[in-house]
């Protein structure tokens, strides 16, 4: 397969993993946690690299996932003390952790390839260069393998725990009463999201994580009456954004991360306007029709007494 084909494939897989992970964040109204996670994984990656000195070690992903969870835990802890408002806690914790990552990587810039611009939008096209072999078999680029694992993992988890996740997001109290351990499940889900964030971060930087986790899911929310559909549509919209984004990046010869996020965002804008039931235009038409109905009714009632 050509390098370009691999790039398309990796972008699409990243989109599927992120946009599925984002669905639960959007319906639980904690979409901006993805912004936090995408930044908070950096110190994990950098510090683990400084310790193990091996870019390809799976321990890096583990460490980064843990540092994402650390952020979630810190924010929850601070919010629970009631001393600092939760949104501020999130903002302070993730930017503080991100700063640790940036400082650590700049202390040792010669050996680490985390230059500032890779952190924001790592070059997806380069991700296809690093090959992965397993017992002598060629599996494809490393980024492809890791994103494929993420996609399989996320889909598997969603399919197996669909009912529990739905109840968790919709009615936590009932989930608690049914013995579905909502807190534990939520933590596990955030751990999965943070591993997806790490893998996507390695492929293409923070911006892609945030954009692909929020925009497709938020757009899918406007289009679907069922959670299952929302998952499917979110993945679809994500893939479309990824493919168009890579296509757009080619003539400009830049990293696809920026174009993909930008297109994911504009996709959402389109849907905000044109969604059949909840779109701006549909709502306006429906409102106008209803108002006309009332006016007609009113006119009728006002006319009646005169005729009598």
């Amino acid at each position: 397969m050509s390098l370009l084909a691999w790039t398309y494939l990796i972008a699409a897989l990243t989109a599927v993993a992120c946009s599925l992970a984002g669905v639960m964040l959007v319906v639980k109204r904690e979409a901006l946690v993805s912004e936090g996670l995408s930044h908070a994984v950096l110190p994990g990656i950098v510090l683990a690299f400084l310790v193990f000195r091996d870019r390809s070690s799976p321990l890096l992903i583990l460490a980064a996932g843990l540092s994402g969870l650390l952020m979630v835990w810190l924010v929850q802890w601070i919010a629970r003390t009631g001393r600092v408002k939760q949104d501020a806690a999130l903002g302070i914790v993730f930017s503080g952790m991100f700063s640790v990552g940036v400082i650590a990587s700049s202390l040792n810039l010669k050996n680490v390839h985390f230059h500032a611009h890779c952190i924001i939008d790592g070059n997806l096209a380069f991700a296809a260069l690093d090959d992965c072999h397993w017992f002598g078999f060629y599996l494809g680029p490393k980024a492809f393998v890791s994103m494929l694992l993420c996609v399989v993992g996320v889909i598997g988890f969603v399919v197996v725990f669909f009912k529990e996740l739905k109840l968790l997001a919709f009615d936590e109290t009932t989930s608690h009463l049914f013995g579905f351990r909502p807190r534990l499940l939520h933590t596990i889900w955030l751990a999965i999201v943070s591993i997806v964030a790490v893998a996507a971060f390695e492929v293409a930087g923070t911006i892609l994580v945030v954009a692909l986790m929020i925009a497709p899911a938020a757009a899918a929310n406007l289009l679907s009456d069922r959670l299952s559909w929302m998952f499917v549509l979110s993945a679809l919209l994500g893939v479309v954004a990824a493919l168009l984004g890579v296509a757009l990046s080619q003539p400009l010869s830049i990293s696809p991360a920026g174009p993909i996020s930008s297109i994911a965002g504009f996709e959402f804008l389109l849907i905000v306007f044109f969604a059949p039931k909840r779109g701006l235009i549909a709502r306006r038409i429906a409102r106008r029709r209803r108002r006309r109905l009332w006016i007609a009714l009113l006119a009728k009632r006002n006319r009646l007494p005169k005729n009598e």
């Binding site: 997001a169 919709f170 009615d171 049914f178 069922r226 929302m230």
Partner: protein
């Protein structure tokens, strides 16, 4: 005598070191409609949360049908306050009612034809079967409340908690809900309703607990819902001082 549905013993709950509930002993017998009544901020919802084990207690314990909460948690069906629900959540009415069967199904198992049939039957009982495929935001307030009641039916728990079920609901629905609650009680269920509207207490409830940080009174509506006790509950002076003074003395 049968075991009480809910027994609260010496419950004290604090929020940020300030007591919200103080030394509450409360018994809800089986087969009654009990109201938890008190002014805003009196700790009604905290009491509800601590019975459902959603908030840490400083002291005290809760028994559900004579057992600790953890052993009997599935015996409780919960109808949340309408304002606490995300009505834009992508779910249909039928889907919502099917959620009531999740507890029975346990981990991993999926709802199937039988669960959907149960849910449809419950919707029919509440006159909501025509709306089964609607998204929940397309319903009126009263219909939304009925959909949640259908879910409670499907759940078939011996005890139900309803948090402000009459808030923002039209009069016919309110009458229907009350009628259903009474039917449920006659079938042997226990129902606990959190309420702050005083006017309808006598008409809707069998028993009432007046709460303002402490338990002011609890028992049959005739005996406990006296003007003096209501006055005491709603007068708003801090009621915790007395036990402390007693303790110090």
């Amino acid at each position: 005598m049968t075991v009480p549905a809910i027994q609260v013993e010496k419950l004290t709950v604090t929020y940020d070191a300030e007591p919200v509930l103080w030394d509450i002993d409360l018994t809800v017998p089986q087969r009654v409609v009990m109201g938890l009544v008190g002014p805003n901020g009196a700790g009604k919802s905290t009491l509800l949360k601590s019975i459902l084990d959603l908030t840490p207690k400083l002291a005290g314990q809760i028994k559900v049908l004579g057992q600790p909460f953890a052993a009997n948690r599935k015996a409780i069906g919960y109808v949340p306050q309408r304002s606490s629900i995300d009505w834009d959540f992508p779910t249909t009415v039928l889907d919502l009612v099917v959620m009531g069967t999740y507890g029975r199904l346990g981990w991993f198992r999926r709802p199937g034809e039988r669960e959907r049939a149960d849910a449809m039957a419950a919707l029919k009982r509440l006159g909501m079967d025509a709306y089964a495929e609607r998204q929940i935001n397309e319903l009126s307030g009263g219909q939304q409340q009925r959909a949640f009641l259908a879910r409670a039916f499907v759940q078939d728990a011996p005890i139900y908690f309803l948090d402000e079920p009459f808030a923002g609901v039209d009069v016919p629905t309110e009458k229907l809900i009350v009628q259903l609650l009474h039917e449920l009680r006659d079938e042997g269920k226990t129902i606990v309703v959190v309420q702050h509207d005083l006017k309808t207490v006598g008409e809707y409830l069998d028993q009432v607990s007046l709460i303002n940080q402490t338990l002011v009174a609890s028992g049959d509506v005739e005996s406990s819902f006296s003007e003096q006790l209501i006055e005491e509950t709603y007068s708003g002076r801090s009621r915790i001082c007395s036990p402390i003074v007693k303790g110090d003395a």
